[in-house]
Amino acid sequence: MTTILAYPFKNLPTTSKWALRFAIRPLSCSSQLRAAPAVQTKTKKTLAKPNIRNVVVVDGVRTPFLLSGTSYKDLMPHDLARAALTGLLHRTSVPKEVVDYIIFGTVIQEVKTSNVAREAALGAGFSDKTPAHTVTMACISANQAMTTGVGLIASGQCDVIVAGGVELMSDVPIRHSRKMRKLMLDLNKAKSMGQRLSLISKFRLNFLAPELPAVAEFSTSETMGHSADRLAAAFAVSRLEQDEYALRSHSLAKKAQDEGLLSDIVPFKVPGKDTVTKDNGIRPSSLEQMAKLKPAFIKPYGTVTAANSSFLTDGASAILIMAEEKALAMGYKPKAYLRDFMYVSQDPKDQLLLGPTYATPKVLEKAGLTMNDIDAFEFHEAFSGQILANFKAMDSDWFAENYMGRKTKVGLPPLEKFNNWGGSLSLGHPFGATGCRLVMAAANRLRKEGGQYGLVAACAAGGQGHAMIVEAYPK
């Protein structure tokens, strides 16, 4: 409570009498308040670095995130990506011809549009002279798209970049079996009728068994939910804790939705259907209802259920990033700086989802900040159990010493600064698009709630992770 009260004031310089006046009042109320960093200054005033160009976020948008199999189910991924791009054009009024480069992230690729960035850009009416490429890094694909853009700008290669991500889980490529594919390819090459017939004679009915894209780690064959359940068990996260956290996410998302805080959403008129204006996965329930669910992965005693996991989602996001001087020259008032970022990776079996724990201290150290400097935490919520396991890991000296080579624990992000407008559990998680949502949520929260630094962090399949500092642009 007290820290929330103190929020708006703590960024002011200590010399401000106004701040002091307010700071004294809580001091007299209770001893506990003394600990609150009410008047603490930032360790660093800004993260600008000499001789390196500042990279700013002009603005970012996303389509509403929908449960897969709902209104977007007949679309193709590039349709959704196009909607995000046209939404961004509309929101920022950026002239298409100034965009130097377009990068999109995606995970499950539609084979027809494997460079979905290019197909979407062409369809959205960008210049055919603007190159585009697609990146993939599991759940941090959009993060990779953004940081690739940051690199291009910082190195002086580009001034204006559109980065984004898209995922359409309503339709995934289901393939013929390898045997069937081989037969079909061989048939293609067969020259005579005799060859063809002898090939066809090799056909067996089991060739027709389809191959589904797996949400399992290739290296371990373990599904992510299973790994999350084991992770939660390793950190002794109870079912109740997980359900409570999921409920928090849904409740906060609902509140943010009702209060109109999710301003990065652009409405999307789906061809042949109504205009979609808001996310449809936000469903605050009750703990009793959630307790009734059976475990989804480790049966019958696991703790990860459908209610405390993120759901399969369709959605796209896009963000306009520029060199600061370019943005200012074009008359923009940027929303935020993209500052230091960090990619980490670890054991894909037992530490699959611990990316945020590893990435957070590293990016803070790189930026010269501490946990206390962060005003808005935006972590990707793959599973309640994953977020809570990360919390426990960050709060454990033992873990820090034995697995991270640190002397002391990372420290716990204060919950009142954490995913205040909901997270992937409630808003949804289109794999390739979540990164931009996290950055825009951090940027928009800093503007709305006050504060200077936001921290974005996410885990990803392959045991990888990412964290980035978002600095509010001075008003």
Binding site: S221, A236, Y301, A393
Partner: protein, 728 residues
């Protein structure tokens, strides 16, 4: 009602021990003194579930010992008597081991049949009580659960009783042996092993509560045998006496065929099950304990227990830890042996260079390693990903690049002294100072190989057996000059590769080859006397050898056998005589090299299991034919001519100090040469069969054939003083 349930865990090996205290109430119903005196078992109560922890003190594994039995009985009685406790969980405090089985030391300590029978009955009583427990009992198993441990954990299945197979957790679940699987956890707030055990306990407690509250229904409520071995339909069929008789007969036949009647235990098990079914469970239990007692007292049991102890001994590094761990290994020669050594090294995480002189040779070797790993993938022992990452530990190459980082080089080039000298010199030019040069040779004396070395203290022999990934034995040969640290390193590498190791002194043929050679000479003699290879094979396998003598020659390679026979023949002269080595020479000249060339005594075809005799051998055999001596040519005589020569030479090795201990001699013979395990090895055989009887036989054959059968001095000493035993 079978109230016993099991929760298995995919096992992971670790020696971490749990120290636990927090989180549960420690309670004791008979007063605290009893709790303090209990050393093997203690229990606490969580809610209404008793958690019984098994922890044999000062041991890596839990075994069913007398103390454990009595404490377990005590604890279970308290649990059954208590009103507060509604269910129980059995768990080990040792990660990786539930109960490994009966304590062999306890069994060997038993002097009489009655003692064993009594022990067995005690065990039965408690198991029976467990089975009939009015309160649900859940066994939470992490790691090995064998033999009697399995009976505690999960009432045993007939199939498992018979073959003593090790079953992986996921298969156990499929077989219905266990109810739930708990996968090992990764790092959390505590070491993974510790937290995994806690988690297993938590899950087991929930399960036990569920059973007590009747939320989970015990599906397996049938009798012991019916539930596990027979399906519903066969269970019905088993109620018809005639069908039962047929089943017993069939099983007995199969067992007899597999064991050749050399191992008494499986047949007795069938007897016991039969008694149990025909005359009721009480009679079955009684018969079980009696038969168990009888079995423990048999020679076979003593022989096998001796092997167990020997194996434990040969799994230790008596030279202590080496100064430097071998991390980078290089192997010269990608043949059958070289590639085999590579295979058992890469999967233990050793960075391994496999070097050959030709690309074709290298390709073949690399493919052998890959196939070995891929076979494990097919059997689901590895994932394809694990295979790939293991395989990436292997570097195949034709040059000496990277040898400057090698900690050990094992050469497995062709058995030719000048070639070995050449590679030794080449290698010494490129390896670092600390690097060990090991030679995988089966007969060339290591000191001769080391003669050209600049640093003979770093030269050692490592004699692997083919196929390397299947044969457990590694014979390490030290010369006068080999340093202690070099030996320590070689043993450490061998242990890492999963080998059972004997360390012997240098000499022609070392120990194993030297024992085998006279026996092989006798094989040739017997064949020359007109015994058909098939007949010879059946005589040797019925004596207990896993592979027939003629087949063994084919497997080893006729050219290798010829080489060895010539080399050792030169050194030992008459003692290795008997058969005419000309037989081997002629075979080699005709290209009959054994399995590898497709023809030897038998014909080998890819994909064909049946072995036909190689009819082209007839002319060779006919040209070397010798008349048999009817006095020493009975089936039994033939068997003993082979075995006594083997045994005589083994004892000679001990006499000459090639062998340090009889135990190593037994392990080497059984694990490397297939000496009948039921006899326990040549030295155990002398002890159990009687030195006098063996010397008598040798003397009889000596009279018929000559000096090759002269008993060695040590053997004669043992025959003269009956109190002398190799194992006291």
């Amino acid at each position: 009602m079978v109230a016993c349930r099991a929760i298995g865990i995919l096992s992971r090996f670790s020696a971490f021990r749990i120290l636990r205290s927090r989180g549960y109430i420690c309670r004791n119903f008979t007063g605290s003194s009893a709790l303090l005196t209990r050393t093997h078992i203690n229990y606490g109560v969580k809610g209404d579930v008793a958690v019984v922890r098994i922890n044999s003190p000062n041991s890596k594994v839990n075994t069913l010992s007398k103390e454990l039995h009595s404490e377990f009985t005590e604890v279970m009685n308290e649990i059954w008597a208590s009103d507060q406790i509604r269910s129980a969980v059995l768990i080990s405090s040792k990660p990786g081991c539930f109960i490994a089985g009966a304590d062999i030391n306890m069994l060997s300590a038993c002097k009489t049949l009655q003692e064993v029978t009594q022990l067995s009955q005690e065990a039965q009583r408690i198991l029976e009580k467990l089975e009939k427990s009015p309160k649900p009992v859940v066994a939470a198993i992490n790691g090995s659960c064998l033999g009697g441990g399995l009976e505690v954990g999960v009432p045993a299945a007939l199939d498992m009783m018979l073959t003593g197979r090790n079953i992986r957790a996921d298969r156990a679940k499929k077989m219905g042996l266990v109810d739930q699987l708990v996968e090992p956890l990764g790092p959390g707030l505590k070491p993974p092993e510790e937290r995994t055990m806690e988690y297993l306990e938590e899950v087991a407690i929930t399960f036990a509560k569920g059973l007590a509250d009747k939320k989970i229904s015990p599906k397996r409520d049938k009798g012991l045998v019916e539930t596990f071995y027979f399906t519903e339909l066969t269970a019905y069929a088993m109620t018809i006496p005639f069908v039962r008789q047929q089943v017993y007969k069939k099983v007995e036949e199969k067992v007899r065929k597999q064991t050749k009647g050399l191992y008494p235990a499986p047949l007795k098990i069938i007897d016991v099950v039969k008694t149990g079914i025909e005359q009721g469970s009480d009679a079955g239990y009684l018969s079980e304990s009696q038969k168990f007692g009888e079995l423990i007292m048999t020679k076979e049991s003593k022989a096998l227990m001796g092997l167990y102890h020997g194996q434990v001994l040969c799994k230790k590094n008596k030279f202590g830890a080496p100064q430097k761990d071998v991390k980078h290994l290089a192997i010269l020669g990608a043949g059958l042996m070289g590639a085999g050594i590579a295979q058992v090294s890469v999967d233990k995480g050793l960075k391994t260079i496999l070097k050959d002189a030709t690309l074709t040779g290298l390709d073949r070797g690399q493919q052998q390693v890959f196939r070995g790993l891929n076979d494990k993938v097919k059997k689901k022992a590895l994932t394809s990903f694990e295979r790939d990452s293991i395989f990436s530990n292997l570097t195949g190459q034709l040059d000496y690049q990277g040898f400057e980082k090698a900690d050990m080089v094992i050469e497995a080039v062709f058995e030719d002294l000048s070639l070995k000298h050449r590679v030794l010199k080449e290698v010494e030019a490129v390896i670092p100072d600390h690097c060990i040069f090991a030679s995988n040779t089966s007969a060339l004396p290591i000191s001769e190989i080391a003669a050209v070395s600049k640093r003979p203290e770093k030269v050692i022999g490592m004699h692997y057996f083919s196929p390397v990934d299947k044969m457990q034995l590694l014979e390490i040969i030290t010369t006068e000059k080999t340093s202690r640290d070099t030996s320590a390193s070689a043993v450490a590498v061998g242990l890492k590769q999963g080998k059972v190791i004997i360390v012997v002194k240098d000499g022609p043929g070392f120990y194993t080859t030297r024992c085998l050679a006279p026996m092989m000479s006798e094989v040739i003699r017997i064949l020359q006397e007109g015994v058909d290879p098939k007949k010879l094979d059946s005589l040797t396998t019925s004596f207990g050898f896993p592979v027939g003598a003629a087949t063994l020659v084919d497997e080893v390679g006729v050219d290798v056998a010829k080489h060895v026979a010539e080399d050792l023949g030169k050194v030992f002269g008459e003692r290795f005589g008997g058969g005419n080595p000309e037989l081997l020479t002629q075979m080699v000249s005709k290209g009959f090299l054994g399995r590898k060339s497709g023809k030897g005594f038998y014909i080998y075809q890819e994909g064909v299991k049946r072995k036909d005799l190689n009819s082209d051998m007839d002319s060779i055999l006919a040209s070397l034919k010798l008349p048999p001596n009817s006095e020493v040519s009975s089936d039994e005589d033939i068997q003993f001519r082979l075995v006594t020569r083997f045994v005589n030479e083994a004892v000679m090795c001990l006499q000459e100090g090639i062998l340090a201990t009889p135990a190593e001699g037994d392990i080497g013979a059984v694990f490397g040469l297939g000496f009948p395990p039921c006899l326990g090895g040549p030295f155990r055989f002398v002890d159990l069969y009687g030195a006098q009887k063996i010397v008598d036989r040798l003397k009889k054959y000596e009279a018929a054939y000559g000096k090759q059968f002269t008993p060695c001095q040590l053997l004669a000493d043992h025959a003269n003083s009956p109190n002398k035993k190799f194992y006291q």
